[in-house]
Subunit: 396 residues, 2 copies
Amino acid sequence: MRRMTARPANAHQARLLRLLRDGGPNSRAQLGDQVDLSRSKLAVEVDRLLDTGLVVADGLAASRGGRRSHNIRLAPALRFLGVDIGATSVDVAVTNAELEVLGHINQPMDVREGPVAVFEQVLAMAAKLRASGLAEGFDGAGIGVPGPVRFPEGVPVAPPIMPGWDGFPVREALSQDLGCPVMVDNDVNLMAMGEQHAGVARSVADFLCVKIGTGIGCGIVVGGEVYRGTTGSAGDIGHIQVEPDGRPCACGNKGCLEAYFSGAALARDAEDAAHQGSSPELCTRFENSGALTAVDVAAAAAAGDATALDLIRAGGNRTGQVIAGLVSFFNPGLVVIGGGVTGLGHTLLAAIRTQVYRQSLPLATGNLPIVLGELGPTAGVIGGARLISDHLFSPA
Amino acid sequence: MRRMTARPANAHQARLLRLLRDGGPNSRAQLGDQVDLSRSKLAVEVDRLLDTGLVVADGLAASRGGRRSHNIRLAPALRFLGVDIGATSVDVAVTNAELEVLGHINQPMDVREGPVAVFEQVLAMAAKLRASGLAEGFDGAGIGVPGPVRFPEGVPVAPPIMPGWDGFPVREALSQDLGCPVMVDNDVNLMAMGEQHAGVARSVADFLCVKIGTGIGCGIVVGGEVYRGTTGSAGDIGHIQVEPDGRPCACGNKGCLEAYFSGAALARDAEDAAHQGSSPELCTRFENSGALTAVDVAAAAAAGDATALDLIRAGGNRTGQVIAGLVSFFNPGLVVIGGGVTGLGHTLLAAIRTQVYRQSLPLATGNLPIVLGELGPTAGVIGGARLISDHLFSPA
DNA sequence: CTACTTTCTCCAGTTCGAGGACAAAGGGGG
DNA sequence: CCCCCTTTGTCCTCGAACTGGAGAAAGTAG
């Protein structure tokens, strides 16, 4: 099926499309209040958008005291695909033009199988969503991958946990396969955009979004825009040193944060604790399944296991130590904690908060909320939809 | 004397003024090459600027193969004042509209005497520059202070080393006294703007500018613009912890970078070394003057004193450790080292480089120059002039 | 039913800008 | 010194775009 290829012709139209995306259906009059255009100019631009089919009439709005206005909204048939490729699983979701999730699938998977295998699976998941009647096709897709990306080209560069992806033309390949525009970004940046659009970071211009999963990364938002750095590796905080001459890390250095606290490190520490017998709870879990993950630690902690709680607190302290430094440096208006280990919940959050509030200067922490992300796994896919919609809703 | 109060009427004019500021005198044709306006439109805007008096005709340009063009330039009588208030001295300079320094005075001073005393001195220095015939008045002034500033209002907030300045309306007070528009910013940000305009950071969009003086701070430039953070305290890296439970710092915490390496800490370490007799060079210097400063350490190091060199290397390592973290996080295209202790020169730079290149990931450091600032004490004052000119050369 | 509010359309007047034509100014070769 | 080419600057005209007002349409409140 042929999809929409129309694009806004100028900055005004782009602005209007984004307002409709972020604010939902709206009347001409309300739009006029927000964009500072003359009524006539606004009417012309709206008419053109109606001509392109990007927006459609949507009945009458409630009266604001006088004549009721005709609502307009983004075309209800528009569909964006959000794909969040993690180290061990993939999330794929369809959204409408307002970035509301209509359907969401998660499947386990190993990125190390390489791009070809992974995309096969992603395409199958997308097809499944389409087959379930949620979409007749996709007008754009935003993809997140767990590693640095050269953003303009949409190509992963030297991703440590994704051997075989280096230089793979993700954007171009998927654009071909899906038959729609595609944008590719780091998964952490996508999470940041998701929380910004629909989560805790609404209306915050400058914030950090720390994602603790298999690795640790940090999305940086400056003035409402994701900051990616000179080579696209900004936010790669997992390999900041927290302990001189500390534990060896997979990256070759010693004492990296990730060597102490990440899904992998936590699992290893938990297994060690199980072997040493210091934690009955972890021990029984280990005997049941033969291995431990962050989920087990979370469960043990919830059951009140002291060792598990200690592990979480120790990790939270180290993470907090790094975040404290970043807060001093970056002075954000908000810090969001997300990712797989968010299941560790408030124990983790408390440890991080303690460390940050103790180590950073009052001026920077005075009014600084440190909170858990509220979207969980949907943050990434919403961020993906947001990424591609930002691209499509900008002047051609 | 009455000064220029004209301001550009629109974004085009602002753009042209900045081009003339950054590129010097220019012909209409050359400007046209850069701004993507039709010749007629360009001519109209230039004529209007000529009417305001902000720019003037400046003779004929060399031929580019055909008819010679009439150059235009910013009004040669325009004068900006750059003021860089340090912890222990003040720099005041006059520049023309192209931000070339016409006169520069430095005087020792103690910020802790409070804003009133300091401004008296600054005004006297400005008057001296004016009296020497360099300026008949000032069209704007940019002020740097050694602490966080609420930028829009131009008011220092909770500055640790400037008791008595908290909340003092610097911008308003100086604007009254000087009779011209004033902008106030952190001194580190000014240094970053200076190096960006006329120093090593020309044509780099994203970079860090680390200033090591009485304290340690870091200017952050994102997409060519200084980033100041939510409360104006971004870049305050002096109080990042480098040693858990380490030396007590003036801020109340322990193990801050500044407690180990800054003008003050270095002087103290040097005096300790002198007392212990581990360094003959420092010892004799101490006996001569009764106290030691970073300058003495630099001189001793230059003379080959092993203890002094060790002090510098140790400090450089700690600083490098912090910068390595920032590089991983921020992925800048350049790191500039500046400030008072730059006199320590290449020993310091080498220590910092070693640490950063060893600790940060290859993708971030692959093509990352770490260099000394090339403007020295003029970076701050040029940055001040740049700050106010950016303000004045923007649409009213 | 009337007065008032809000929304939307239409229209006329005006401003703005693009682009072509042309004059002015210079270089270089014969 | 003349002719031709290049570059620069100005002028002019046409078309497009924008503003603001008038007024119709569609409500609400009393």
